[in-house]
């Protein structure tokens, strides 16, 4: 079965290109019938408020939660991580929908506005010794992780930017914007 990339809004084509480069078939998910065709799902970077609202309008929120409870692996990058998080540090705005699947507290725009967006090399033991070049754009961070959650990467100052909980993966940065496919391979192995 192919890998789904949520295609309501955001950088979904970039994820598809990396997956296709790995020889994986992809499906753009905009409606529940497309979700039914996929065995795993990536929620791309984009605007989390936009994607959250469209998840509800196109009846995808509950079906994704249902599939997650049946063990479908899900990876959220940036906006996707905010949607996966159970808690948002500053609180979720009233009426802002989210999947709330992963036992983490995410903080939106944790590094400031666009002029504070940055690139850096991350040490990610789960990917081996070679550092991972990570691009952070108006990025969130993870303030707290639950007992079941494994931290995969932190910045030098200790702020958590990647984590895994069973079949769920969250990254505050954008592996779809750099050529390095190692996070995609990690996700395909979940």
């Amino acid at each position: 079965m192919p890998v789904g990339v949520l295609a309501l809004q955001g950088a979904f084509i970039e994820h598809e290109q990396i997956l296709q480069g790995l020889g994986v078939e992809t499906v753009q998910v905009r409606l529940p019938e497309q979700l039914a065709q996929v065995e795993r799902l990536i929620i791309p970077g984009g605007e989390s408020t936009t994607i959250g609202k469209l998840l509800v309008r196109f009846d995808l929120l509950e079906p994704i939660q249902q599939r997650a409870s049946e063990g479908m692996p899900i990876w959220g990058t940036c906006a996707g991580m905010i949607l996966l998080a159970k808690e948002i540090a500053e609180g979720r705005a009233e009426g802002q929908p989210a999947l709330g699947l992963m036992d983490i507290t995410a903080r939106r725009n944790a590094f400031g506005r666009q002029v504070n967006s940055f690139e850096t090399n991350l040490n990610v033991p789960a990917l081996g010794e070679e550092p991972f070049h990570a691009v952070f754009i108006r990025a969130p961070q993870i303030d707290n992780v639950g007992a079941e959650v494994e931290t995969l990467a932190s910045l030098e100052d200790g702020r958590i930017v990647a984590a895994r909980q069973a079949k769920l993966l969250a990254t505050a940065f954008h592996p779809e914007l750099t050529g390095d496919a190692r996070f995609h391979e990690l996700f395909l192995g979940l």
Partner: protein, 293 residues
């Protein structure tokens, strides 16, 4: 750690793809746009339709007003500077806008030079009518391109013309022999390295949105099917009968741009669209797309 690299500048635009950026003139409008699902708002004092009607010199908006909009929403906020007015751009950068639109909708401040956008940490989007114009803006440091269209008309014809022109010129480059790209660069009045890159990629190296005259969900889907990455809607929303409903519909149409059944559903009962203007009734010296070069 490196901040504000070209990758992060282009990267923000990549995160806006498949989305709608809406012109707003008050914090309340910004909230309506965010609630409808806009991926960003463009903060300005007057929408293009009013700029067209009022005439006079049109400038950067009051920082106080832009600040109010920044505080009202969590999505990115863009604002416009005049072409070549690099001090307006410095001010916009200082108040923390996420993207600057160096825009032909405002009265140009320099009739020869655009702003040197490499001098800024904040990214820029610029309008273009064709590939040469787009490549000159990218050379000056633009991290995102949009069609100019003809702003404030509610008439999509110019946006279609500019998108078709740009994509046809890109396709033509792909058919050329590598030896012919030097002359192609000369004819496009653009750097050879960039022209060679376009011929290889088959697209611009930055995100390319549609703008200027988009007023309906069908207009947005038309531009998406022509191949743009997302849409700007200026006067089309808050000059219509039911802005909240129309804004939501244009967002939905941009997501489901290839699904005619969904588009039919989305387009129902939206109330009055903005009253459009036929381009050939506008005096040539009032055409905004002619500004910039």
């Amino acid at each position: 750690m490196e901040t504000s690299t070209f990758t992060t500048k282009v990267g923000l635009a990549q995160m806006l793809k498949g989305g709608v950026i809406m012109d707003v003139v008050t914090p309340d409008q910004a909230k309506i746009a965010e609630e409808a699902g806009a991926v960003a708002v463009m903060a300005l004092e007057r929408v293009p339709a009013d700029i067209r009607k009022d005439g006079g010199v049109s400038r950067m908006s009051d920082p106080e007003m832009i600040q109010g909009i920044i505080e009202a929403v969590t999505i990115p906020v863009m604002a416009k500077s005049r072409i070549g007015h690099f001090v307006e751009a410095q001010i916009l950068e200082a108040i923390g806008v996420d993207y600057i639109d160096e825009s032909e909708v405002l009265t140009p401040a320099d009739e020869e030079n655009h702003t040197n956008k490499h001098n800024f940490k904040v990214p820029f989007v610029c309008g273009a009518r064709n590939l040469g114009e787009a490549l000159r803006r990218i050379t000056e440091g633009a991290a995102m391109i949009r069609t100019k269209g003809e702003a404030g008309t509610g008439n999509v014809v110019e946006a279609v013309r500019h998108a078709r022109t740009m994509f046809a010129e890109i396709r033509r480059l792909q058919t050329l022999d590598p030896d012919e790209l030097f002359v192609a660069a000369k004819n496009l009045q653009a750097p050879y390295e960039l022209v060679k890159q376009i011929a290889e990629l088959g697209r611009l190296p930055v995100v390319n949105f549609a703008a200027g005259g988009i007023a309906t969900p069908a207009d947005a889907a038309l531009m998406m099917q022509l191949g743009v990455d997302g849409v700007f809607v200026g006067s089309g929303i808050f000059k219509s009968g039911n802005p909240a409903k129309r804004a939501k519909a244009i967002v939905e149409a941009t997501t489901h741009f290839r699904d005619a059944k969904m588009l039919a559903e989305i387009s129902r009962n939206l109330g009055e669209a903005m009253v459009g203007i036929n381009i050939d009734t506008i005096p040539a010296n009032e055409l905004l797309a002619q500004r910039g070069w």
